[in-house]
Amino acid sequence: MRVIVDLTRCQGYGQCAYLAPDVFTVGDEALLYDLDPADEQREHILRAAAACPVQAIHLDWTQTRRVGQSSAERPSYEEAPAAKMTDGHIVIVGASLAGARAAGVLRREGFAGTLTVIGDESHEPYDRPPLSKQVLTGQVPSGHTMLPRLREVEAEWIAGTPATGLDVASKRVHLADGREIGFDRVLLATGTRARPWPNEAEAALEGVHTLRTLEDAARLRQALAARPRRVLVLGAGFTGSELASVCRELDLPVTVVERGPAPLVSALGAVIGGVAAQMHRDHGVDLRCDTTVTALEGDGGRLRGARLSDGSTVEADVAVVALGSIRNVEWLHGSGLAAGVWGVACDAGCRAVDTNGLVTDDIFVAGDIARFPHPLYQYQFMTLEHWGNAVAQAEIAAHNMVSDQAHRWPHLSVPVFWSTQFGVNIKSVGVPTLADELVVAQGSTDERRFVAVYGYRGRITAAVTFDQGMWLEYYQGLIERAAPFPPVTRHVDRREAPRPVPAQVPDRMVATAGATVVVTGHDPAERRATLVHPPQR
């Protein structure tokens, strides 16, 4: 049977681990579990799901509401009855978390027309977060990651077939096998792929891995199970850090090479990155910061080691390239949509924006590629490559695809993400990179149980917890109310007078290399923007 836990909601109460100890395991609050346990666990899982204090355990990922867990009727924005657009043909491009989830929500919302879901992978929809955790340790087989019941959604599922183009004018999606699929409305949810090692010959060495798909995870698991003498991890973002944690759990020597001053810097800044660095070292990770890999070296087609920018070398027979991801938007080049390396621009209702900045009517975007304006963050456009964002945005997009103007919802959820590494549950709410200062409000970084609050120009913009997830809701409320920073200090678990320190977050990256805009025409009716993309590598 299949089960999935909404770890964005999970607060680490651990009730599931008491009631179904063969399926769920928790540390202080970090939860790992088998998504496809044996049928004999059924009774235990039903008990665990019923007992979850935040009702985050789902056996059917098509039916659950996530935006507000209240079972009370949700008031609509307008008094007028909703005019649902329940017929026609909807095409979803992308069959992973966001796309497949949207398919389920569309049916739940009453869409009765034709539904086509196009995916480039051959599997049914699966969950990726376990791939860098319990799958790599061998606790759970890689095949045990399928999302419960999504595949049962009534739709034509076209698997293993990438989309190659979108014709906005004639409303058609072009597929790699030459087919063209017409639509009335389309949802773009093609997600991201792992950024490969730039040197193709080196990337092709046996022993060099990336981690994004089920196959990646299965291959890497096999490589780790063969007990390599040393694993080299390139990049100490969340994936790289989780990989290092897995290696140490398996008692494998691991070297992590990170360009920045500490792990997780680009997401959480250098202060909390420093805490993460200590965590790596305490667990025996050979962490090399302010360093890059200059070359991967092979021997007879097999990886032997790497040369680093500081002149040193590392011998390793497995290397994992964890240098971030690339958004799958190339297929949209020439479509007339504002799509580039930064994602596909859309409004808060998930409607795609064209190259001129005009909102389209029938083209929606969700998940890792959706670049949307967030009112809480000065309407800055942001893409969020978070599990919770994909889920929430898919729900909003699907709802809006069948709703009239008066009944559409904005995607306003405050970003939340989590990571499990070295037994610690790291959670974040808000946008930590939008910060000039931070303060450890509760707990202590030495104990690795704390709440760090981030502020930008005197107001609270984010909070990060290490094994203190139960407090996150409170800080989310402060972010939503634009509460002043630093926060009040009369609260529990306050240690010596908390003092704000510079947050040391990296400058916000501006994508300039991806595409150039050329504006032509003089008359307002003629002015047009065109994106000029550099040739693809």
């Binding site: 651990g14 009730q15 008491y18 009631l19 079972s71 009369r490």
Partner: protein, 406 residues
């Protein structure tokens, strides 16, 4: 009566049988200041917010004005992080994940065995008090076994725990006197458990008390005082709460013959039904010892720093803004997010134990009792507004079905 405030009427034992209409009125003012300076919070959203608000303390030593001589040895239920977290981690180490994930699950056969014995014991009676005969003995037996307290001492500590529960009344009125009484009884119970702890230290067994006494880790261990405070807490809580879950459960089922039929036809339904009971007729109605550490503005009211705060969990779980048709018992309600075990860092320590005990006993009663019916409705209630449940639950029935191993 008319001079009584709404909250006083709720506390008045005469209304114990059905406090829900009063809760409905209470929710009209989500955060209501009482004359004695206590703030009563009764709506779901506000209660959840305060359960996760670090400006709310569970340590009454933070009160601006404490009516009573305060407990100098509070257990973790009356402490804040980091002390709370440290003690709770030390306690959970012997009870649940990550270090002892199977302790509760492994009690299941014993729960079923005791349940079976208790129901066998009433087979020929035709008329019994379910509270005395089944609802009380099961949790007591389980907490004794778990803690390592000899069951034959039950008559001694039963008198103490009952007295302690009676003095648990929210509000500051008469608090000093209640607290004096409470301390006297608590000291006797503490003395008893201190003696027991010493014995377990000399000859440790596979029980929590032995674990509390002997464990030393990177964070240290529990001091003798902490061992006793923790044991007192678990003994009382393990005993005076699940009794209400079972009794309230049977009362609810017996009032709805259709429900009893559905549960008989579909035994798996007991799992969500127990969750619904925790929402609809919870064993614990109030968290009554919270304190605001700072001025807290919520639902348009500012609770001043130092003020006592009462969270009306049972009112919150029936908030129509949170659940549709809250006054209807729906065994299949999904999702069912309720306040039956509180929330936040003080979430009920024994929740997994209570759930299993409730599920097993209620499932067996439903299956085995032939034609059960209530003798008196409403039944007499125990006086406590906090731990609310029937004092007795008299039923009649036409014998019991034999136990069927599954």
């Amino acid at each position: 009566m008319s001079s009584q405030s709404l909250f006083e009427r709720i506390l008045d034992p005469s209304g114990r049988a059905d406090p829900y209409p009063l809760y409905e009125r209470l929710r009209e003012t989500p955060v209501a200041r009482q004359e004695d300076g206590t703030y009563v919070v009764s709506t779901y959203r506000e209660i959840v917010a305060l359960l996760h608000d670090p400006r709310i303390s569970s340590d009454r030593r933070n009160l601006a004005v404490a009516a009573e001589a305060l407990d100098q040895n509070p257990s973790f239920i009356g402490l804040d992080p980091p002390e709370h977290d440290r003690l709770r981690r030390l306690a959970v180490r012997h009870f649940g994940p990550p270090h002892s994930p199977r302790v509760v699950e492994e009690l299941r056969p014993a729960m079923l065995e005791i349940t079976t014995r208790l129901i066998d014991g009433i087979a020929d009676r035709g008329r019994v008090d379910l509270v005395d005969e089944v609802a009380y003995p099961l949790p007591v037996a389980m907490i004794c076994r778990l803690l390592g307290v000899p069951e034959e001492d039950e008559p001694r500590f039963h008198a103490w725990t009952e007295k302690l529960v009676e003095t648990l009344i929210p509000g500051e009125e008469g608090r000093a006197e209640r607290e004096r009484e409470r301390q006297d009884v608590a000291n006797e119970l503490r003395g008893y458990l201190a003696g027991l702890a010493e014995e377990h230290g000399r000859q440790p067994g596979q029980d929590l008390l032995s674990g509390f006494v002997t464990y030393r880790g990177p964070e240290g261990g529990m001091t003798p005082q902490e061992v006793v405070s923790t044991a007192v807490l678990l003994l009382i809580a393990g005993h005076e709460t699940t009794i209400n879950l079972i009794a309230n459960g049977m009362l609810t089922f017996l009032r709805r013959p259709d429900l009893l039929e559905r549960l008989r036809a579909d035994p798996g339904l007991i799992v969500p039904a127990v969750e619904e009971l925790l929402r609809y007729e919870p064993p614990v109605h109030f968290l009554s010892s919270r304190v605001a550490l700072d001025d807290i503005t919520i639902a348009g009211v500012t609770i001043p720093a130092g003020a006592p705060v009462v969270l009306a969990l049972a009112a919150g779980s029936r908030d129509p803004a949170h659940v549709s048709d809250p006054g209807r018992f729906d065994p299949c309600r999904l999702p069912n997010e309720h306040l039956g075990f509180g929330g936040g860092v003080h979430y009920c320590f024994g929740a997994p134990l209570a759930r299993l005990e409730g599920q097993i006993m209620l499932a067996e009663l439903v299956r085995r009792l032939r034609a059960p019916r209530l003798v008196t409705d409403p039944p007499p209630y125990r006086p406590s507004p906090v731990l609310r449940g029937p004092r007795h639950l008299l039923i009649q029935y036409d014998g019991v079905e034999p136990y069927l191993p599954t």
